[in-house]
């Protein structure tokens, strides 16, 4: 599983990076989305892989043994990251749309160089 997830993160990163280097705004936005998937999975993996651990704790204080449960910390971090990356994507998108309207091109530099 570890190997598989690492490969998944690697593939997402590589695709995201390739798109990040492209000259068209839409490609860059998609690239950032893919990169954020990769980063979120990476943070998640920092809590190590647990596919059978309950995420909800019991109400009995004795049952609150951290070893029994999924690590909540990366989850909280990723949850924040998901929402923020949505906001970033939206802002970037609108900036790029405005730039496209003003400059007449969807090149990231606002002027059509070589593609």
């Amino acid at each position: 599983m570890e190997m598989l997830l690492s490969l998944a993160i690697g593939v997402l990163t590589a695709s995201g990076l390739w798109l990040l280097f492209r000259p068209r705004t839409f490609q860059v936005i998609l690239g950032l989305s893919l990169l954020s998937y990769a980063v979120n999975l990476f943070i998640m993996a920092a809590g190590r892989l647990r596919s059978d651990a309950p995420p909800i704790i019991g109400k009995d204080p004795a049952s609150a043994d951290p070893a029994l449960y999924a690590d909540p910390l990366p989850q909280a971090l990723v949850l924040t990251a998901i929402v923020i990356s949505f906001a970033t994507t939206a802002l970037l998108l609108v900036v790029l749309l405005a730039s496209r309207g003003l400059t007449g091109t969807d090149h990231v530099d606002g002027e059509d160089g070589e593609s």
């Binding site: 990076l17 998640m44 596919s51 704790i57 989850q75 749309l97 007449g104 990231v108 530099d109």
Partner: protein, 976 residues
């Protein structure tokens, strides 16, 4: 008064007044000035109420703990010396405010002036009353900033802007040195607390860091107090309104430097380096200032150089290092403030009434404004050191000290002569100032006919001149006790015996005074006519402080520009490549040095389904990267596929909250990107000149692929190495153990978000709100590219079909498009809303929470929009996203503040279960209220962005003409 807490009020009141004045209407001159005056007097009254304590030699202290672990408290401290100085700042401040009321033109935005002036006064009092070194540096910077604003108050005036900028750069640079010096000082003393520092003289002077600290502190003080060679900013700061000059350049700003030197005198003074640096600088400044003042033609310029010279005198006295010299320095600080402030004010009146300050044009004003003339003459006499005035007393003390032997160097020998010479210069320019202005034939060709100023404008000068007289005639009854307190608190048990009498018999200092008076007057008689022809000061006029300053500034800018041109690029692709290459190299360094190995943990067994999932997910990602250029919709769907794989992985890895939120966010992001697609240009295959791609393109793309693959491999290797090692102990344990007992919830992730790390979440929703408003604002002025304005292809075809068919009205096909799904979508609206509410309510105990619920709610609204079209929805339903956002933020912040009401820190939570009929136990934590705030912000944010971008499609084509601002009113058909 015995309650030290009122010390805070002395500092805080001016700032409060500043904030109030900033919000007054621009024409309310009377209101702003009376408010400022009342505030200054109130602060002064508090100070006076402390006097009985000060008189007994006590130190009033008030400390507010701020960062106690770092030794940083907000400490205010009042002793005899700081009392005297604060009284000076506030007293002259009140007089300047009264004066400014009449000086400022009603045409100027006067409340702004008073806002700056009071803030400056507050900062100055802040320096004086600070009991902590870092706090002093903080208020020091504030005075630099506010003096910048004050000097540049007439910002339409080029010289005001230049003068303000120069003052800010010089004093700001000095402030940085001062901060470092004070930090060093605090380290040597082992504490930043002023009393502790003052008590550790021996340790500090023995420390090897003493000399660097001393030099840095001195640079700070010298730049502020306009000491040679940093003096050049002060004359240029005369572009300020005259009340500002009267305040900043007599009692406050420039006195901050000598104040600090006096304050730290017990710790820093007495060493050889102190003596050499401070005395030399003071002496040079004294002579240069006095010499230059003689040749000024502008009255304010003359006063500016005279101020420089007097500051040099005070610095020189402090440099001598003997207790008696320190007494003289403190005394002269007070005296100079009183006579210089009144002289500036008198100059302002002359400028106001005649329209010029040029000594060559003024003459014989005494017969037009006799009272002002008398006042100015008395003040100028005090400046010259004429007996029976306050200036005489401190100058006598100075001359007496000049005669003493202090170090055995050549300075001892020269000092008496140079001191007499400087005094003679001082008499010279004082006589010139008075004689040219007030005596001689009546003036000709002045811009205004001169007349006496209004009585209220003269009142501040009258008070100050009265003070000069009283101190000069009966010093023991007036300034005596105050000075004694100040001296005792600075010098402690080293306090010398000194006499404030006006007559000490026929002494050498008296002889020197007489020589100076007679010599100065004689010089004036000899040279007065030739002086009017001088354009710049002889000898030192060659020292072009301003030109050097500007050359240095230009050189720095040029270097920066050169570096930027050489190493900077405006091309995003290049920047991104460089960033990624740097990250890759830095990431590779540890592996290269220490080697790469997997950890000791065994791999868990691969689940084939998970393997299949990621074969699909990876393929989606690669395909999306490949297709994003020409097939945007396909790429979008493929990215969605990869996102879905991530989402399922989250659920697989025991994170249902993440899976849920990721899924919902995925939907919203997809809609957002879909809405944007129509504004992007059509992408056609590249056409290369020779019909095939040039090799350059192959190389570049090959490089990008290599970089991307390297990045992917690196991250994968890193992830694998990390996952095969046992996890370190983290704070997760604490969260799990305390989630239910402390936070009252069983969903630990949600408890972390809304309780343990509630403050982070508050910041996060604020960011969301800001992003949404930015998006909204950007889109209000959105102008699409010309080729995107036409209706989309599909709608045009539908309309053409309507036109061609006889039984169709225009828009029918569009209206009937996908009818069944639309009905289902409408019905789904309440279902999704209920689901969102359910997510919200159970969030604390089970997967869900404000984020997920908020996005689910906005999806419900978006479904409604998609089903009915923007216009139809908004005809019946008014969604007010901005209100949602503000209500949410208010709710979240109010939940946090409510904890204060119960005496707990911000955002402390309280939880209990409430049993409702039918529904059962409901977790009712205060965190739920917070989560509702999060929910509302997320709903508002998402909706605001989606609706704003959807509205672009229905804006009228007329409004899209580039020259006209866009109107949001929908007119043409179309669907969001």
């Amino acid at each position: 008064m015995h309650d030290p807490r009122f010390l805070l009020a002395v500092v805080a009141l001016p700032f409060l007044g500043s904030v109030i004045a900033a919000f007054l209407p621009a024409r309310s001159r009377n209101l702003a000035s009376s408010l400022a005056g009342v505030i200054a007097l109130a602060s002064a009254a508090i100070l006076v109420a402390y006097y009985p304590l000060i008189e007994q030699g006590e130190i009033v202290r008030y400390a507010l703990p701020w960062l106690p672990s770092l030794g940083l408290d907000l400490t205010f401290r009042l002793d005899g010396f700081t009392w005297l100085f604060a009284a000076l700042v506030l007293g002259i401040g009140a007089l300047v405010i009264l004066y400014a009321r009449y000086y400022m033109s009603p045409e100027d935005p006067v409340p702004r002036f008073f806002a700056f002036l009071q803030a400056f006064m507050g900062s100055m009092v802040g320096i004086v009353l600070s009991g902590n070194l870092i706090q002093i540096a903080f208020f020091w910077e504030l005075t630099s900033l506010f003096s910048f604003l004050l000097i540049g108050y007439w910002h339409h005036n080029q010289s005001a802007r230049d003068g303000a900028r120069m003052a800010l750069i010089v004093t700001g640079a000095g402030g940085v040195c001062l901060l470092v010096g004070l930090l060093l000082l605090g380290r040597m003393a082992g504490s930043y607390d002023l009393d502790a520092v003052l008590a550790s003289r021996a340790a500090i002077q023995a420390d090897p860091a003493y000399l660097p600290a001393l030099i840095l502190i001195l640079i700070g003080a010298f730049t502020k107090s306009a000491q040679f060679p940093f003096h050049f900013w002060l004359p240029h700061a005369m572009a300020a309104p005259t009340p500002v000059s009267a305040y900043l350049h007599s009692a406050t700003m420039v006195k901050a430097g000598v104040f600090l030197l006096t304050l730290l005198w017990p710790v820093l003074a007495g060493t050889e380096s102190w003596y050499l640096i401070v005395t030399t600088t003071g002496l040079a400044t004294l002579l240069v200032g006095a010499w230059a003042a003689i040749f000024q033609q502008d009255m304010k310029g003359l006063l500016a150089y005279s101020t420089i010279s007097h500051l040099g005198l005070i610095t020189l006295l402090l440099g001598l290092g003997s207790p008696l010299a320190a007494v003289a320095a403190i005394f002269h600080t007070v005296n100079h403030a009183t006579f210089k402030a009144s002289l500036f004010m008198a100059t302002g009146i002359i400028d106001h009434e005649t329209g010029t300050r040029d000594l060559r044009r003024l003459s014989g004003l005494a017969r037009f404004m006799p009272i002002t003339a008398t006042l100015a003459m008395v003040a100028a006499a005090a400046m010259a050191g004429v007996p029976l005035l306050n200036g005489f007393l401190s100058k006598e003390m100075f001359l007496a000290e000049a005669l003493e032997s202090h170090s055995g160097t050549i300075i001892d020998v020269l000092l008496p002569y140079l001191a007499t010479l400087a005094s003679a210069f001082s008499v010279f320019y004082s006589v010139r100032f008075i004689h040219q202005t007030f005596f001689g034939p009546p003036p000709v060709g002045l811009p205004h006919q001169p007349a006496e100023a209004p009585p209220w404008m003269r009142l501040p000068i009258e008070i100050l001149v009265m003070a000069c007289l009283l101190v000069g005639v009966v010093p023991a009854l007036t300034i005596g006790p105050l000075l004694a307190n100040a001296v005792a608190s600075v010098l402690g048990d080293r306090t010398p015996t000194y006499s404030l009498a006006i007559w000490h018999g026929f002494t050498t200092p008296l002889l020197m005074s007489v020589i100076a008076l007679v010599g100065g007057a004689t010089l004036y008689i000899l040279f007065r006519d030739r002086l009017n022809a001088v354009e710049r000061s002889p000898i030192i006029g060659r020292l072009k402080g301003r030109r050097t300053f500007e050359a240095v500034l230009a050189a720095i800018v040029n270097v920066a520009r050169g570096l930027h041109e050489r190493f900077g690029t405006r091309r995003l692709q290049v920047q991104l490549r460089l960033i990624i290459i740097t990250a890759l190299l830095l990431g590779a360094v540890p592996f290269w040095r220490l080697g790469y190995s997997r950890g000791p943990l065994h791999d868990t067994l691969i689940d084939p389904v998970f393997g299949l999932l990621w074969m699909l997910g990876g393929a989606c990602a690669v395909a999306a990267a490949w297709q994003a250029k020409f097939h945007r919709l396909v790429a979008l769907v493929l990215v969605g596929g990869a996102g879905l794989a991530v989402c399922i992985s989250f659920i697989w890895l025991s994170a249902p909250d993440l899976g849920l939120t990721q899924l919902l966010v995925e939907v919203v992001t997809l809609i957002l990107l879909l809405l944007s697609l129509r504004w992007l240009p059509k992408r056609l295959p590249d056409i290369w000149p020779e019909g095939r791609k040039p090799p350059k393109v192959h190389v570049r793309r090959g490089g990008d692929i290599a970089l991307a693959v390297a990045g992917g491999t690196g991250v994968a290797a890193l992830a694998y190495a990390m996952m095969t090692r046992p996890p370190p102990h983290s704070i997760s344990r604490y969260f799990v153990e305390n989630a239910y007992s402390g936070g009252g919830g069983t969903n630990v992730v949600n408890v972390i978000l809304v309780d343990f790390r509630g403050f982070d979440t508050l910041g996060e929703i604020t960011v969301l709100a800001i992003v949404a408003l930015t998006v909204f604002t950007l889109l209000r002025r959105f102008r699409p590219a010309p080729e995107s304005i036409e209706l989309p292809d599909q709608q045009r075809r539908q309309n053409a079909f309507d036109e061609a068919s006889e039984d169709h009205a225009m828009g029918d096909t569009l209206a009937h498009y996908l009818l069944v799904p639309r009905v289902i979508m409408q019905w789904l609206f309440p279902v999704v809303l209920t689901f969102a509410l359910y997510l919200l309510m159970r969030g604390h105990d089970l997967p869900g929470g404000g984020f997920a619920a908020g996005i689910a709610t906005s999806i419900a609204f978006v479904l409604l929009y998609m089903a009915n079209g923007t216009r139809l929805v908004e005809a019946s339903l008014s969604v007010q996203p901005v209100r949602w956002i503000s209500a949410g933020l208010v709710c979240a912040v109010a939940t946090g503040i409510a904890a204060w009401v119960f005496g707990y820190p911000f955002l402390t939570s309280h939880s209990r279960y409430l049993t409702l009929p039918l529904i059962g136990d409901v977790p009712l934590a205060s965190a739920l209220l917070f989560d509702i705030g999060v929910f509302a912000v997320v709903v508002g944010t998402t909706l605001l962005m989606l609706i704003a971008i959807a509205h672009q499609s229905i804006r009228s084509p007329r409004a899209r003409k580039p020259a006209q601002p866009a109107t949001p009113e929908p007119q043409a058909g179309g669907r969001a």
